[in-house]
């Protein structure tokens, strides 16, 4: 079971719901541009870590307009610094998917001591003219599904973009649209806001997990991140698109856990540094 609490940062103007589960060393998960949906990947991580998953400003139910209090990426990064302080998390493994990977990198580059590890699942944040990132916000639901997933009929693909007119489906489409709109504040029109010139500041070791069939953020970006990060290695996941942790939750959770366990001194929630089990 997951718990949740809503924290206020930015002088109370930005409310962020934080979902948590598990026990063990702290692991902060930043979700992608499609909103936070507690999924089997997070359940798998929660078996070994205290998973702390905040919702990006604006995506928390009941607080859609809070994102308007942020002027840009710098404000967002500072909000997350405030959030970690509020949660009493001094240092943690930072895990992020897509836009959440970019956020994890920005936090780790701005406050290097906050990150013990960086586990990045198909992060955005860099740009290569030869390999343009597809603008996910301009796709039809079917095209979005086709860009995100290797298996278009899999559970994960069907869950992301529900069809039909049932209340739940309508709400889900509103949440999905607004999540793309609110996070788009920090990515439009090209998701490169200068991360490339800040990545050298990261001190934590990094793992890059990429779907071999990523049709949204081409796999060439894995090498691009690895080249710019001080310590990084790349794991390709076969038969996966832009969200390998949704299509292969156990396998990707194992990659992340192996990475965190292999690295020395994964700290506990109190920051005193016990190894992960």
């Amino acid at each position: 079971m997951t718990g949740e609490r809503t924290e206020s940062v930015w002088q109370g103007r930005v409310r962020i719901r934080v979902r948590t589960a598990g026990s063990g060393p702290p692991l902060v998960f930043f979700h992608g541009s499609w909103g936070l949906d507690w999924d089997p990947f997070l359940d798998a991580l929660a078996r070994r870590y205290t998973v702390v998953a905040p919702e990006h400003p604006g995506t928390t139910p009941g607080a859609p307009d809070d994102v308007y209090h942020l002027d840009g990426l710098w404000d967002l990064v500072l909000c997350y610094d405030e959030l970690l302080a509020t949660l009493g998390i001094e240092r943690a493994a930072l895990v992020g998917h897509s836009f959440g990977g970019m956020v994890a990198c920005e936090v780790a580059a701005t406050f290097p001591r906050r990150a013990t590890h960086l586990a990045l699942i198909a992060p955005i944040g860099l740009w290569r003219d030869a390999d343009p990132v597809v603008n996910w916000a301009l796709l039809t639901p079917d095209a979005l599904r086709a860009r995100l997933f290797h298996d278009l009929d899999g559970t994960a693909a069907r869950r992301l973009v529900p069809s039909g007119d049932a209340d739940g489906a309508v709400d889900a489409r509103v949440r999905l649209t607004w999540a793309m709109g609110a996070t788009g504040k920090f990515t439009w029109p090209i998701p490169d806001k200068g991360l490339g010139k800040r990545l050298h500041r990261v001190t934590a070791p990094a793992l890059l997990v990429w779907g071999a069939d990523d049709r949204l953020v081409p796999r060439a970006y894995a090498a691009e991140f690895a080249r710019r990060l001080p310590v990084a290695r790349v794991e390709m996941v076969e038969r996966a698109g832009h969200a390998p942790h949704w299509e292969h939750p156990e396998a990707v959770a194992r990659l992340v856990a192996d990475f965190l366990g292999a690295a020395e001194g994964a700290p506990r929630a109190d920051g005193r540094g016990a190894a992960a089990s």
Binding site: D65, L138, W178, M180, G181, G184, W188
Partner: protein, 418 residues
């Protein structure tokens, strides 16, 4: 009643299979495959000639607007066109209706305030200052403005524009999106305190509120006719009433496609393929591009999702007779056109500032002139006095043009003081 000729300046020679071969008419149509600069120069000159012809034929105003990277209507800076029109119509009582330069794509946005002031100076105070939000394709896709910031930028730029026109002192603007330490506009407009402002919209409640709050003329630029606009314009008039404003029909503008010929049958023979070209090719845009996430605020998004309007029909499934039957286009004999305009648009929506699009899609130059001429002679005179008996003043029209000097009709009898 004020009646203006609107022009989009479209590509008039797109290939017959355009919509099958290309993704979109907007943002991504490949210039090198589809256009030729020499030919496009001809389009621009035809456009100017057609609008000047309309001005001389008796229209009250001429309208141009701004769009980018498209074959649907490509005047990236309508003020370049407006300046030619202002010069060419000096000595007449025709308004230069800019519908207009787009604030969020102009950086800094006082560029629009400056250019509009120039147009007002050149025209001797005949400018109507349209201040559109800009389409998502133009502003978000072509010009890179973040959808979530689009309306905020617009509102800040709108406030800056009004202050820049009127401020007696040099001022500093320390905005969220724009910072200017010395705003001191040269030139200032002839009209005081500023030119009349029109704000185009597409039915969102927040724009109704904005228009009424700022006391501007709200304009619906419609391609699906008055019938489908009735509920929407009803919503606007409700906001006008709720806010305690007078139901002055000049608070509302509406754009209608019109094609006139000597008979209904002749209109079909002359215009059918150009109307179909317009709806099938010029509006060929992927649906999601009209509403990128964040473009609608959360309140409007929820409202739209929970009260879905009936699925809008796909214009590509419709043919000329459908477009005419449904009122997308009002076409036919002069009697047909004036009856429908009067009934469906002017009275039906309570519109005081009517705009008509008379060059439609691939319509060639000579046929356009014929359409303009027929409208000016056989339709326009029958509409001009529509609202006179109610005695409203068109506060949203240049003051010196509200009653046309040497006009064919006397000034409205009961006109209220401005």
């Amino acid at each position: 009643m004020k009646i203006s000729a609107f022009h989009l300046m479209p590509h008039r020679d797109l290939p017959a299979d355009f919509e099958a071969r290309y993704e979109s008419v907007w943002v991504t149509p490949p210039w090198w495959e589809l256009a030729d600069a020499g030919r496009v120069g001809q389009y621009y000159n035809w456009t100017l000639d057609e609008l000047i012809y309309a001005a001389r034929a008796g229209f009250d105003g001429v309208c141009t607007n701004e769009h980018h990277q498209n074959a649907y209507g490509f005047m990236p800076n309508p003020n370049l066109m407006g300046s030619v029109l202002a010069r060419a119509t000096n000595g007449t009582d025709v308004a230069i209706v800019q519908m207009g330069a787009t604030l969020p794509t102009s950086n800094p946005p006082i560029r629009v305030a400056e250019e509009y002031a120039m147009l007002d100076c050149i025209s001797g105070g005949r400018l109507v200052a349209g201040l559109p939000l800009g389409s998502p394709m133009d502003v978000n896709l072509c010009y890179g403005v973040t959808p979530l910031e689009h309306r905020e930028r617009y509102r800040e730029a709108f406030a800056l524009t009004l202050r820049a026109w009127q401020a007696q002192e040099i001022f500093a603007w320390n905005g969220r999106y724009y910072q200017l330490a010395n705003v001191n506009l040269w030139p200032r407009p002839v009209q005081t305190p500023h030119p009349p402002i029109w704000v185009p919209g597409s039915g969102s409640v927040s724009t109704f509120d904005f228009a009424v709050e700022h006391d501007v003329c709200y304009c619906f630029l419609s391609y699906s006719g008055a019938r489908s606009a009735r509920a929407m314009m009803g919503g606007y008039w409700q906001v006008v009433t709720d806010r305690g404003r007078e139901p002055n029909p000049y608070r509302a503008g509406f754009l209608q496609l019109v094609a006139v010929a000597e008979s209904d049958a002749r209109a079909e023979a002359l215009y059918a393929r150009h109307v179909e070209y317009f709806y099938h090719k010029c509006l060929h845009v992927p649906g999601p591009w009209f509403a990128p996430p964040g473009h609608q605020d959360h309140r409007s998004l929820v409202a739209a999702a929970s009260n879905p309007v009936r699925r809008t029909e796909n214009p590509k499934d419709l043919r000329y007779r459908d477009f005419v039957d449904k009122g997308y286009v009002i076409a036919g004999s002069p009697a047909t056109v004036r009856d429908r305009l009067l009934e469906e648009v002017v009275r039906g929506l309570r519109v005081g500032n009517l705009m008509v699009l008379l060059q439609i899609g691939s319509m060639p130059h000579e046929l356009t002139l014929e359409n303009i001429d027929r409208f000016a002679r056989e339709v326009l005179p029958h509409l001009r006095n529509v609202w006179d008996d109610e005695g409203w003043v068109n506060h949203w029209w240049p003051a010196r043009l509200r009653t046309r000097a040497g006009a064919r009709e006397p000034a409205p009898a009961g006109a209220r003081p401005a």
